[in-house]
């Protein structure tokens, strides 16, 4: 069987870019494996603020509200949900250490078993497995606005002192962020849905913009290997910038081969 017969020709450019990014990331993972080399990564204020927010909730004796948006494991936004669950683990661990109550509101029931595991693991890491209460994971329903107003109601009733919204969000993003503002909560919110980022930037105290959400798991883990993969992603971005500049120059010079290759 000839490779050209079975390859999806419409995705050549995408495949080439994917291979380059994967190779760069794997090289970065190899170089940083076991802490052989630790690249410096920039500070992400939104992630640094999590501990401050959890500490404040503990001091005030009020609960923390956490959501991972409208994503599940079955859609193309799952990577945001997974990132949200990674941050949930970190936040729950802090809440367990400090003795604060964290309420998690999943939208999609497919993530409930994962959330239970993530939170249980966090309580174990904090040395308080007996303090884990599954009742703090509350399913409100699988409809966008029913869920959003369920979270809003819980935020208002419980008078949460810290709100975290990490994952894919749509029109409900502002409803959630405003409800937290009215209870005076410190809010950290992040999404990779670029049409909702501005709402979080405006209404939340700290916002994770796009890729910062995906980097959160590696950033918070402090694991050199995971941080190394972020370094690899930076190389991929440098490559994209070079391609962009090259594309502009070639297009201005009337050479269209690069544009044709990418189907532009």
């Amino acid at each position: 069987m000839n490779i050209t017969e079975i390859f999806n020709e419409g995705l050549v450019a995408s495949f080439v870019l994917l291979v380059i990014v994967v190779v760069e990331s794997l090289i970065a993972l190899y170089l940083t494996r076991g802490g052989k080399y630790l690249p410096k990564i920039r500070r992400i204020p939104g992630l640094e603020a999590i501990e401050e927010a959890v500490g404040r909730a503990t001091e005030m004796g009020r609960p923390i509200v956490y959501t991972t948006g409208l994503g599940g494991i079955r859609d193309q936004y799952y990577y945001q949900t997974i990132s949200g669950l990674n941050i949930l683990g970190y936040t729950t661990e802090l809440a367990a250490k400090y003795g604060a109550k964290l309420l998690y509101f999943p939208y999609d029931p497919t993530i409930i078993p994962m959330a239970v595991d993530v939170m249980e693991q966090a309580y174990i890491r904090a040395g308080k497995p007996e303090a884990f209460d599954q009742e703090n994971i509350q399913y409100l329903g699988g409809d966008q606005f029913a869920w959003a107003f369920g979270v809003l109601g819980a935020t208002q009733r419980e008078q949460s002192a810290a709100n975290f919204h990490m994952g894919p969000f749509w029109a409900e993003s502002l409803i959630l962020a405003e409800s937290g503002f009215y209870t005076g909560a410190i809010q950290v919110a992040g999404t990779a849905n670029y049409h909702q980022i501005q709402f979080f930037v405006v209404a939340a105290d700290y916002a994770l913009i796009g890729e910062e959400l995906m980097a959160a798991g590696a950033y918070l883990s402090k694991d050199p290997t995971q941080i190394g993969s972020l370094w690899g992603a930076d190389f991929a971005k440098i490559m994209v910038i070079i391609l962009l500049v090259l594309g502009v120059i070639l297009t201005a010079a009337g050479v269209t081969e690069l544009n044709d290759f990418f189907g532009l």
């Binding site: 683990g89 029931p109 078993p113 509350q138 409803i175 995906m214 993969s229």
Partner: protein, 220 residues
Amino acid sequence: MSLVVKRHIPLAITFVMGIIMVIATYFFFPETPARIASTQLTASVDILVATAGVIGIVVLLRHHGLNISRRGRFWKYSIITIIGVVLYLIVGLYGIATHERHLMLASELFEWVYIQLYTSMDMTIFSLLAFFIVSAAYRAFRLRSLEASVLLVVGSLMLLGRAPIGGVIWEGFPTIADWLLTVPNAAGNRAITIGIAVGAISLAIRQLMGVERGYLGPER
């Protein structure tokens, strides 16, 4: 449960499934094991989701049932929630039992409840978003910093460019609004989108290689 069952097997499944899906995306393998596997994997997600739906209902009923039995905070609202779930379930089952429609279609009564009650409440909630936008915009547009000032100017120009009155006041407002959307806004969006795409691939590699395991359960 051993570490192999709790950690290694899920990681191996994640790796194999991920590789199968990547191959199925980029290569045509008609009637080959890889293609059949990817089709069946996609179909199996529906089964998983249907099962998870039951988990959702159980978690919901358990939480509110416990709240009622303990006379917890706002326990009376929990009664309303349970009544709502049970009644709607009865309405759905009634439609199936009377064979009014095919199993996969909602009965007329089911649709009536959905459209007359649920949709109305849903739209009421959605319409409240306008007020949240106003309150957020009020805070964001206050002249406190350079960024807030830029936001105020750009936001005002967009409002004037998109509202009919803007074009009446000065015909240049819609042109400015179009330029703001298609040039600086598009540039920012594309930069964010590229970063997201690279970040998502990086995250996928970490997960497929088993480096990032935060979403998995306890090791002990």
